[in-house]
């Protein structure tokens, strides 16, 4: 089994496990981590996921062997590319959480909102680049765009509500971030 086939077979599972572990560790009390794995454990695992995603992007880019089975006529070779897209989107979603990127203090509403908008931009940018490279279909890109618009509107609503009701606005923001993570989880298991 060559590297490309290995990524194609196991890539989504490995990435999903890494992100699940990182997310679970972030949810723990920092004191628990300090006494066991170390306070920076989520950071190291997220870095591992990032390196894994980058390695896959390079291996996928260097692959010259057509996917097996070959794509139907008129359809893009989506197997590897969807994995690549999922990996990159996962990184963007982790950024939305931010806790594993060296930011140790709790994020304020505005900080979480900015990270959410930035993740939304990253999702659209990634889909656009892959579309222009001919690696995803226009229909796939349209689906991603629809999700990106929905997420932006959810963030807008959270921001508007927070101006008059901080608690409700915060809840809506968390719901939007959860939606980002749900989208990534879906994409990470889809190829």
């Amino acid at each position: 089994m060559n590297a490309t086939n290995w990524f194609d077979t196991h890539g989504t599972k490995v990435l999903a496990v890494l992100l699940a572990i990182a997310t679970a560790l972030e949810a723990l009390d920092p004191a628990v981590l300090t006494g066991t794995l170390g306070p920076k454990a989520p950071l190291w695992i997220t870095l591992a996921a990032t390196i894994f995603a980058a390695a896959h992007a390079v291996v996928s880019a260097t692959n010259t062997t057509p996917p097996t089975p070959p794509p139907a006529a008129g359809k893009p070779a989506g197997g590897f590319v969807r994995l690549e897209l999922a990996a990159i989107l996962a990184i963007m979603a982790v950024a939305a959480g931010c806790a594993a990127l060296g930011i140790t203090q709790p994020l304020t509403f505005n900080e979480q909102l900015a990270a959410g908008y930035q993740s939304d931009a990253g999702i659209a940018t990634t889909a656009d680049q892959l579309l222009k490279a001919g690696k995803i279909s226009a229909a796939d890109a349209q689906n991603v765009e629809t999700q990106a618009v929905n997420l932006r509107e959810a963030l807008d609503i959270a921001n508007m509500v927070e101006a008059t009701d901080a608690a409700t606005g915060g809840n809506k923001l968390q719901a939007a971030i959860t939606a980002i993570n749900a989208l990534v989880t879906y994409l990470a298991t889809f190829k």
Binding site: A54, A57, V58, S60, A61, T62, T64, E84, I88, I91, M92, A95, C98, L101, G102, I103, Q105, L107, T108, N110, E111, L113, A114, A115, Y117, Q118, D120, A121, G122, A124, T125, T126, A127, D128, Q129, L130, L131, K132, A133, A138, A141, Q142, V144, E145, A148, V149, R152, L155, D156, N159
Partner: protein, 69 residues
């Protein structure tokens, strides 16, 4: 091995990491100063999201446009 594909993939990753680094840097700077991100900073990230979505929409329309015969 296709060098053009390698460069395209690495360029995309570089772009995304720069975007992540931008917001992380802003947040760290605000936290170090004991302040919050301003509404203008947040609006800037919203504008960036809008621009990225608009560009994606334009390229989808272009991709759906039938080739000139």
């Amino acid at each position: 091995m296709n060098p053009a594909n390698i460069i395209a993939a690495l360029t995309l990753l570089e772009t995304l990491f720069q975007q992540v680094a931008g917001v992380v840097s802003d947040i760290k700077a605000a936290q170090a100063a004991g302040t919050d991100l301003t509404a203008a900073q947040v609006e800037g990230y919203r504008d960036a999201a809008n621009a990225a979505i608009a560009q994606l929409e334009a390229d989808i329309q272009a991709a759906n446009k039938p080739p000139a015969s």
